[in-house]
């Protein structure tokens, strides 16, 4: 009965409709929890602890942010988080430039074992090495210091970043380097003056990856840091979450502030991180 081209149009329309529905579904799933976190941080305590839930804050306020800043050690947490994330990120970049370059440009005997080692290290849970590492640090007198966190974050984030860096190096044709070598530049010269500038997007991506890894860590910090003034944001705030009376307003405000740097950096580097994830997991 039905005209075939008409039928085709209907089925195509249904396909588009289905696709839009699925896209909407995922958007709501992702955004709804973040939205709830955000609006809670804007509510007065009486608007949070009410049985008549407000899906839109009736009296939006920044009080929670102010209170968090004044009544907890949040400024110290923030400073510590920034410090360990930036320093460990920079060290990871330097180490993985060396490692990635060697793995991409040389053939050597340890290469395969090193790659397997990196892959295996991705499977080892932090909880497994925490006890021995705790003992090593206590022998070195590093427990309860930010240095211990920097060292661990470098260790935890290096393997993935080396593999990612390797794949970035492999995307750069060797001909540029060869030309420069003929012109009389040494290998280090070529690396620093010619290869690295071309690699800048990759280097930024690796830095951001390492930064987010350190910024988001919780358990290492919980295990190694005791002094309140040396805690990072997740470590400092999670101590409050375990308590019976949680101040949800302040906690969600802290959560939002902790979220902002990683969300912004992720937005900047999304494309590269996606490429890196793919390269790191598939080729490695």
């Amino acid at each position: 009965m039905m005209n075939p081209s008409y039928k085709k149009k209907i089925s195509k329309g249904l396909m588009v409709f289905g696709r839009v529905l699925i896209l909407l579904f995922f958007l709501i799933i992702v955004v709804a929890p973040i939205y709830w976190l955000f609006i809670t941080s804007l509510k007065l305590p009486k608007d949070i602890a009410t049985l008549d839930l407000q899906y839109w804050p009736k009296n939006p306020t920044l009080d929670n942010y102010v209170a968090l800043w004044k009544s907890t050690q949040f400024p110290a947490y923030l400073k510590n988080s920034l410090l360990v994330s930036v320093i460990s990120g920079v060290i990871v970049v330097i180490v993985s430039i060396g490692g990635g370059y060697a793995l991409a440009r040389y053939r050597f005997r340890m290469k395969k074992i090193t790659l397997i080692g990196f892959l295996v290290s991705q499977m080892i849970p932090i909880t497994l090495i925490l006890v021995p590492v705790f003992l090593i640090f206590s022998r070195l007198g590093l427990n309860d210091t930010l240095t211990s966190l920097v060292v661990l974050y470098v260790i935890l984030n290096t393997p993935f970043c080396v593999i990612t860096m390797q794949s970035f190096f492999m995307n750069i044709p060797t001909s540029i380097e060869e030309a420069a070598t003929i012109d009389g530049c040494g290998r280090m010269d070529v690396l620093i003056r010619i290869v690295l500038p071309v690699m800048l997007p990759g280097i930024i991506a690796v830095f951001i990856f390492a930064f987010i890894g350190a910024w988001n860590d919780l358990l290492t910090g919980v295990m190694l840091i005791n002094t309140e003034a040396k805690k990072t944001i997740p470590v400092g705030l999670s101590a409050y979450v375990g308590q019976f009376s949680i101040d949800w307003g302040e906690m969600t405000a802290g959560g939002m502030l902790a979220l902002i740097p990683s969300a912004i950096l992720f937005a900047i580097a999304q494309k590269f991180i996606v490429e890196g994830l793919t390269a790191g997991a598939v080729k490695g």
């Binding site: 839930l53 849970p125 497994l128 003992l135 959560g255």
Partner: protein, 294 residues
Amino acid sequence: MKKKNLEPHAFMLPSYILLFGFMGYPLINCIRLAFTNYKIMKPDEVYFAGLNNFKGILSDPDLLMILGNSVKFVVITVFLQFVLGLILALTLKKPFRFRGVYQGIVFLPWAFSGFIIGLTFQWLFNGEYGPINDLLLKAHLITEKISFTGTPGLSLFTVIAALTWAGIPFFAIMILAALQSIPNELYEAAKIDGGNALDMFKHVTIPCIKPTIVITILLRTIWVFNNADLIYVMTRGGPANTSHTLSSYMFMKAYSTLDFGQASALGVLFMFVLVLYVLIFLKITRFNEAGDVG
């Protein structure tokens, strides 16, 4: 000649030190500690303990439940992450307006810390003021509020929900990348052969993305198995250890009882399960052959 051979190792030196010094050595040390009586509060009583730590953990009445929890936790979480990630990736395959922006938002949970995810979901599932209870009540699906994180058996599922949410982007990213690398000619050839959409999905799409799916599931399973921070933030293993997995239990053993010997014995058990899993997984999926497809 000699110099040239050393060059790559000079570049690699920091990586070597990190890899062997802080991964290899601690792992070996973990095994040694498993056979040592080592309680941090009693530093004078450190001695070789034989199998005592293992006897200790095996006689723990909660161990079987915790192993069962680990299996439940891993299987349900990875299954949901995979199915939802696959659907998302398939929907994102064809370009549309604002796809870049959409991806930027939908992939965002990947950048979230365990602390924030745990905080958010604990608050969503809150027994008094949580919106999930509120919405379920308003939809008349429940008659009174449920204490999700306070009920044995339910609290583990709040963590599963949170981790599923956080893990969908990774699956979607990986599968999307694989989908985009499938050459269009394969689909055109299938069309000429008279295949419909389902045929193409079964005979082109699935075989081409199979290697990626296999390696992603392998990695994800291990990461979910290793995950301890969400449980730490959301339930601390409670009530009464019913939401502990092997990983979070090991952390709590080290962190709160400070019995490093038993924590390390759990670590050895952990390694054993991990290696066993990897071997079985590679065998079942015949991973070496999977690389030939596509």
